[in-house]
Symmetry: C2
């Protein structure tokens, strides 16, 4: 039976929830034309009914009801789609589970929830012949989930590399373009709203790891435990490293990387030297991008704003439109994810990387030779070398290795640290191979 | 009723057809996992049964039948999906129409057909409750059609700009990176298979105009007559222009541009100076990209290989997977396009552009003033000026205007040409505003 009206209940009316309400209202006629159905938000769950919400002035006579009781939405038989934009993990999971049990379709923007409990929720949705959509959970408005599930469905995805955290990309871009130090760039990002007051989840790569877990699960058809994603912070990146990288033809980015190999999955988030002619190198400031390689499509990249009220609402409402279309065509899909098993994850020490190493050593003959010898003992060969900045008897040496086994690199490094001529190891950053 | 096997008939077994066959075979287990159905090619239409086809050695005992009679496929009741990868317009249209009338789903990679007769075919498909999919018709493997129809469906698309012709982008990239002249770059592109022996459709922007018509139709929900798309060739671009552009902070690209304004649609393909920090500026060689602005999502870009056997097959098979899913869920969609009316197209002379102008003039005082005066008389104001290369009494002048009405710019130019001090107008190229 063709439905004429589809009703939505919003869980949360914060930044994203307000954006969703605004977008559905602004583009109502286009959305109706595209779906053949009138789509409306009838109820929204809020923490307080007393808070002033200027956005609601537009909805005075539309029948939109605010409530502080989730059951008013979850148990409302007239509500077809529950849209979860409240954040948090445990409460959101409870509400979404209840919604699915009550036969509602679910759209969520909740990255933490989907990375940690996606599989349970997909299974529950399948049991109740409903679907859960989560395009907005990664990359804001950039289409990423749907391209992986549909557009690139014919491919075996070999690797993905993403700049999927706007905070760190903003900071690194400012450090690169204007030689600002880390603390200054962070403070500015906070002032502009690109970094939170407590930014550690972003800076340490945790936020990117959650997003990588969601994307890699779809790309590699595997259940992924987010705790198995290796992460490294950007806190130690200095302008000095950025300048050396530039001299060598690279920019430094925080990359989330996933690869499938014969031994299993490689999943990691770490600062990386990216060749300046790589498409990811020109992704600046708060922008995000995902670069994929598929066996048929080759290289493909998706670029845009990875956060913000309206970009995120764009993804949420795209999901709503898909649900509306599917309700009227009695589709029951979205259960691909339930077919995944968990593929093994390769530990970092068994992985192959190319390294940038900056160190300080006594400015005397034979120092470089002894460093090279230690690397040679572990089959680590060198690609690029810069030696300069002699000051007060101390020389700064920058090396870039060829691809090497991480375990061997770190073993060589332990021995290098013991050399009497070595003053300190200033930094170690992984390098993306030039194509 | 859940189908266990879906049968495909291929119309054409050339570059793309072979790629489709190969991809369906290589990734069979993944595709079956994603759809829950066995998908197989049972028949392929070819011109000659005698031709040697090494790819077919793998299909000896799979029941794949070759035929030179289209009716064998179009009228076969066991075939569910007809995949048209033969090219041509009239014959392909006849075959596809017959397939739809016989209740088959259609997937096509035929850009010329969809740009010219898309609307008729969508209407026919709707009448027979079937769908026609055409992701591969634009941008090879890069997801463009589906993102416009689904992922960005919540947005009003304000503008789109694309590098959607690999031949011209390859030539311009080679001219830019290595200062090769146009003829050399073209010859190399031909040698490498990035340009056809008869390349005029690519060089003159016709190929890009077809693709733009398809994309703009979806972006702006409008029927579009491809003959109303303005086109300009890259043949007149010289290394000299490219070097001046570089000095001014731009690279020269052939852009396909679509915008919706209050007066109607602006649709054009022409060489354009693109600011070097714009994401489109770093799209090199045979790569393609589409840059969009939506009212909610903001700026978003899709990047990848716009042609080739396997990238195109990636898009065709993604469409096949969607059809397979929809058959098993009894979806009847793909008819959004039939709801479009035709929006008015704004003629070029009424449009606003920013221009780069290179001219030669007598090296004497007052020349520049007289040029500026002519521009001033038509309200054309100037943004950037380079004056150099004085040789034998002749000065070369390069100007970049602010945004101006095209009609006024060309009127001023006519008067400038009449000035006795002007030797010649070397080139005129439009400029993309810095963001």
């Amino acid at each position: 039976m063709q439905r004429q009206v589809i009703n939505i209940g919003l869980l949360g009316l914060g930044t994203v929830g307000s954006g969703v309400l605004q977008l559905i209202t602004n583009n109502r006629s286009e959305i109706t034309a595209k779906t053949g159905v009138k789509t409306q938000v009838t109820k929204a769950l809020v923490r307080s009914l007393d808070k002033k919400r200027p956005i609601l002035n537009r909805y005075k006579n539309t029948g939109l009801e605010l409530t502080t009781d989730p059951a008013e939405i979850l148990n409302d038989p007239d509500i077809d789609i529950v849209v979860e934009v409240m954040g948090s993990v445990k409460t959101a999971k409870d509400y979404i589970s209840q919604a699915l049990k009550n036969g509602k379709y679910v759209v969520t923007a909740n990255k933490d929830l989907m990375a940690q409990h996606g599989y349970e929720l997909f299974t529950l949705a399948k049991k109740h012949q409903r679907s859960i959509y989560y395009e907005a959970s990664v990359g804001g408005g950039i289409p990423l989930i749907r391209p992986l599930k549909n557009c690139l469905a014919a491919n075996k995805i070999q690797s993905l590399m993403g700049i999927i955290n706007g905070t760190t990309n903003y900071i690194l871009t400012q450090m690169t373009l204007y030689e600002k130090d880390f603390a200054t760039a962070l403070a500015e990002a906070q002032a502009k709203g690109f970094a939170e007051q407590e930014p550690s989840s972003d800076l340490e790569g945790k936020d990117a790891a959650y997003k990588l877990a969601i994307l890699a699960s779809l790309a590699f058809n595997s259940r992924i435990d987010v705790n198995q994603v290796y992460t490294e912070s950007i806190n130690e990146i200095s302008v000095r490293d950025i300048m050396y990288a530039k001299q060598l033809g690279f920019v430094i980015k925080l990359l989330a990387i996933g690869e499938e190999t014969a031994d299993g999955l490689s999943l990691r988030v770490h600062p990386t030297l990216v060749p300046t002619n790589h498409p990811l190198a020109s992704v600046q400031n708060e922008f995000n991008a995902l670069f994929l390689e598929g066996d048929a499509v080759g290289e493909v990249m998706f670029y845009g704003r990875g956060a913000g009220s309206m970009p995120t609402a764009s993804a949420v409402v795209a999901d709503i439109i898909e649900v509306v279309r599917s309700i009227n065509h009695e589709v029951r899909n979205g259960s691909i994810e339930t077919t995944y098993t968990a593929k093994p994850i390769i530990p970092m020490k068994k992985q192959t990387s190319k390294f940038y190493l900056r160190l300080k050593a006594a400015d005397q003959s034979g120092v470089f030779g002894s460093v090279a010898t230690e690397f040679g003992n572990e089959d680590v060969s060198l690609d690029l070398i810069i030696q300069n900045q002699r000051e007060l008897g101390v020389a700064e040496i920058v090396l870039v290795t060829h691809d090497v086994c991480e375990e061997k690199f770190y073993r060589a490094l332990e021995n290098i640290k013991k050399l009497t001529s070595i003053r300190n190891i200033s930094n170690i950053i992984r390098v993306l191979e030039r194509s």
